[in-house]
Structure formats: C-alpha cells, structure tokens
Amino acid sequence: MNATTTTIARENSSARARGGLRHELGLVAWQVRYEQRGFWRNRRRAIFSFAFPLMFLLIFGSLDSGAHLKHRGNLPFIDFFVPGIIAYAVMVIGFSNVAMSIANLREVGIIKRMRTTPMPWASYLGAITISMVLTVFASVVVLLAVGIVLMGAHVFTATLPGLAVTVVLGTACLTTFGIAVSRLIPNPDSGMPVLMFITLPLSFVSEVFFPLEGAPSWLKSIADVFPLRPLSNALQAAFDPRTHGAGLVGHDLRTLAIWTAVGCLLMVRTMRSLSARD
C-alpha cells in the first residue's frame, strides 16, 4: 500500500516537472478565476471599490455639466473630471482595496491555510495581484464608457497610448504600495479609517475631483511628491485637446516609475514577512 502510494507520487511529480511552467500558469489562472468570483460576490467590497468611483462620476459629473475651466483653455469640466475619477478608482481599488484584502487574508487565516497546501506561495500572491489588476482595468473601462457615452467626455485617438500607459503604470505603482502597506494594518476593522485618512486628503490635493487653481503653491508641491497627482495629471493630459503627440507625459510617468520601483521593494519585504516562520 505504502509502496504504491510512493510510486504514484513519484510519477506525478515527474509528470509535473515535464509540464512545469504550463502547470504553474494553469494553477495561477485557476486561482485568478476563484479570486474574481469571490470579489464580485462580496457586495460590500464590490460596491465600495467599484461602484463608489462610478457614483462620484455620475453625481459630480451631472452637477457640473456644461461648466468650463477657464484656466485650462476652456476645457469642459467633464474632460477634467473623468480622468480624475479614473485616477481615484485606480487608487481605491489598487491601493485601499488591495491593502484591506491582504490584511484580511492574513487575519482570517487564509494565508496560514494556503501555506499548508501545495499551492506555491508566489503563484498564490501572483494570482491575487492579477485578479486585483483585472478589477482595476474593468473599473477603468466602465468609467471611460460611462464618461464618454453618458457624460459626453472627449477622448482623442492620438493620446490613447498615453492613457493606456499611464493606467498600467499607475495601477502597478498603487498595487505594489497596497500590498506593501497591508503589513501596517493591524486588523481589518481599523484598516478602513486609516486608509481613508491617507487617500481622501490626497485625492483633494491631487486635483482628482476639482482643479486647485487658486491653491497655495506649497500644497501643490506636496501633491506632486505623491503618486496620485502625477497619475491624475497624466490622465487629464490625455483628455486635453491642447496635448500634443501620444499623450505620454514624461515628467509624471518618471515620478510614477520611481514610486513603482520603491513600491516593489517594499512589497517584496511584506511578502516575505507574510510567509515568514519563526
């Protein structure tokens, strides 16, 4: 009996060695499916991260319909607001939701269970991350569609590459930070207020909801240091008819890239501590 079991196990592991990478990628894809299913089924989380930005878009967008921004070459407000809200959504899902989700996995003991299964740690974390990134992209697509179709925002084919690159880089940046900060959240109950305290003021100074034309310059300098302002600025450039070329705003993208690099380092540290044993 024992001998047979051993033989079966050996055959299986050699089969896996042959199928190696394909097997692992299949496992990641499998996990992504279940992560997605769980995400959309949790109404509270889906509403908070997915429907919230959409609600802001519909409410504020309708309130200020027809307004124009004098300081920005008479740009329709909605062309400022749609990219702003996209930046906000990338932050809420990529940063806040990711941080909360990971803190929750740790708190509920799912990470502990995962470690006793043969699912490799890196594949599992990879699957969670991919799932969240997919959610961010879905949110961006919905916001764009609603912004263009219902609210009459204008996108230009010329600046679409800039829009896409900015969304991808911004998502990478905020998601890595979301994973990194999950470590600082002692328990899911206290997590939300802490994250709101970080993200809400940052949203206001980063000109996500409205432009800060008359604001003191030091406030703008503070906003420029953090990743949200470069993200919203680069996105807003893509919606601005005065933008030339592909809409790639070098300065903002550079800032985002630096933040992403820092985020990656911090993320690796958090991932190590999550899997650490004593």
Binding site: W30, T116, R277
Partner: protein, 318 residues
C-alpha cells in the same frame, strides 16, 4: 514499514520561555496518534513544527521522510491539515472551495464524495461565510482531505460540536484509519482520545509526561478500582463489612468511596452484606479510573480548569 513521523530531542525556544523541552516520539504509518495536554503544554507548537509553520530551535523532525522546515511541495502534497485558526474565502461556496483547493493536489478526491463524507450536501451551494460553526469545521475536514493525504493533522477537531456531531466526526475519522491513513490528533477531550487513538502522549510543561495506549497510559491498568455508593440513614462507616487489606475507605461529599485492587471481591462482599440486611445502597457504581483521572494526575491541573465537551473555551471557529 517506515514511520510517518519521527521526532528526536525536539526543542523550541521563544525569547523568554522554552515551549518544547526535548521531546521524542514516533508515529507509525496507519496509526491514530493523539497528543493530549492543557493549554500552554507545547502541543500547538509541536504540531506547528510538524506542519512546517514553525521552525525548531534544535532536534530533528521527519515527516513522511521530509524535513517540514524545508517546506517542500512534495511533502505538502501528501499531508492534510485541519487547524482551528485557519480560515477560508468567505464568499465562495462549499463545493467551490473543495474544487478550488483540490486543484492544488496531484491526487484529489471528488467534490461530491467529500461533501457526502462530511454530510454537507444541503449546504453545497452555501457560501462558507454563512455556515454555522459546526458546519465550518466539517468543511475544514473536507478541505483537509481533499488532496487524499497520507497523513492528516487534526487540531481539536470537535471543539464546539454538539454531542451528536462529535460522534459523527469520530466515525468519519475512524473510517479514515481503515483506509490506511495516519492521523495526528491533538485534543483536550479525554473521551475523544479514548475513542479514537491507538496511542496517546500527554504533554505538560513542554515535555512528554506519559505515553502509551489509552488503556495502559499512566499505569491506568494498575490503578485501583473505585466503588462508590451512598450509605442509608443510620448506617455508619464502621458498620461496613471487612474488605480486602488494601481497601481504602473515604467519606465523599454524598457517600462513600472505596479504592481497592480487588474490586470484584469487594463488590461481592458489599452486595452480600447489604442484601442480608435489606439495605439499599443508592448510586452503587464500580469503575476503573478514567483516562481523565490519569490525565489530571499527570498534568496537575484541577478539574475546574478542564474544559468540558461542548463548552466554548478558546477560539471557536469564526
């Protein structure tokens, strides 16, 4: 046949305290091995080292031929772990979870078969977050078995169960043994150890204080038989007939306790004496000391500190 688990001189130090102080034991393949001990005895630490959650400070540990500290996938494919403190994705249903976790293992059991085994047929499409405590534990058991493990770790598997559910879980666990699986069980409950285990070790203060079969552990076979009854009004201890030389008479709260190695003869003498006089000895009972008595004597804890079955001490599943 090789052993499923071999532990030699295992020690685990946390900053201030030494939680496990040099223990040795062996679990044979196909055995139900039970680790008993009060909270803080070191059994959780020991179990977590065997599962690969913690690293040993010194000593050697071998699980199915692997060192669990290396966290090899080949080992994780062959063990199942049912922990009290590990959660599940609350928004997935029972059958989805079994399906999802099953995919990680090379040899997996079918979803339907496992749901039947833990009797969650009616809850197959219910989200894990909506299950009752007992149902959650049964799901945990199903997830522990999904990879058809050779070795199953069960951490207090019936805490928080009602008596019927406990009996049921026991029969499930016993049926695993008939399949040749090895089971490593930790529990607070004496009756659980007595019913399930082939072999028991008792831990206290980071050490193994006794080991053996549930029948023989702690010299239980040699302990005197206990006879208890209530004397009728007007009859004193002095009126009792002469019993064997070793018999010890004690006055308990509401009756008499006699301890003797010669239980059969003493019972005969006492019943003859009572019948002759037409006396009724209420609550007459003859018993061997229970595993619980032995355990209490070994671990030096009083009865009040011991949890009783069904009481929700510690963290019950969330």
């Amino acid at each position: 046949m090789s052993n499923a688990i071999e532990v030699n001189e295992l020690r685990k130090r946390y900053e201030e305290i030494e939680a496990v102080r040099g223990i040795d034991f062996v679990v044979g393949t196909g055995e139900v091995f039970c680790m008993l001990g009060p909270n803080g005895a070191g059994k959780t630490t020991t179990t977590e080292i065997l599962e690969g959650h913690r690293l040993a400070s010194s000593g050697s540990v071998c699980v199915l031929g692997h060192d669990p500290a290396r966290g090899e996938r080949a080992l994780r494919e062959r063990i199942g772990v049912v922990l009290q403190s590990s959660g599940v994705q609350p928004d997935l249903t029972v059958s989805e979870l079994i399906e999802m976790y099953g995919r990680y293992y090379p040899n997996r059991r079918s979803v339907k078969e496992l749901i039947e085994l833990v009797e969650l047929e009616a809850k197959a499409d219910t989200r894990a977050g909506l299950l009752s405590g007992g149902q959650r534990r049964r799901l945990d058991l199903a997830l522990g078995l999904v990879g058809d493990p050779d070795l199953l770790f069960l951490d207090e598997p019936t805490t928080g169960f009602d008596p019927q559910a406990r009996r049921h879980a026991w029969s499930t666990i016993r049926s695993l043994c008939s399949l040749g699986k090895t089971v490593f069980l930790t529990t607070h409950f004496m009756d659980e150890a007595q019913t399930l285990a082939d072999r028991v070790v008792v831990m206290a203060g980071g050490q193994i204080v006794a080991s053996g079969t549930p029948e023989e552990i702690g010299g239980r076979e040699q302990l005197p038989t206990e006879i208890r009854f209530v004397l009728p009004d007007g009859v004193g201890l002095g009126d009792l007939p002469a019993l064997a030389v070793d018999a010890q008479l004690t006055h308990e709260r509401d009756g008499v306790l006699i301890k003797t190695q010669n239980g059969l003869a003493a019972t005969h003498t006492l019943s003859g004496w009572a019948l002759e006089r037409g006396l009724t000895l209420r609550s007459f009972a003859v018993a061997q000391p229970t595993l619980e008595d032995v355990y209490l004597a070994l671990t030096g804890t009083s009865e009040d500190e011991q949890p009783t079955p069904g009481s929700n001490h510690e963290e019950v599943s969330r």
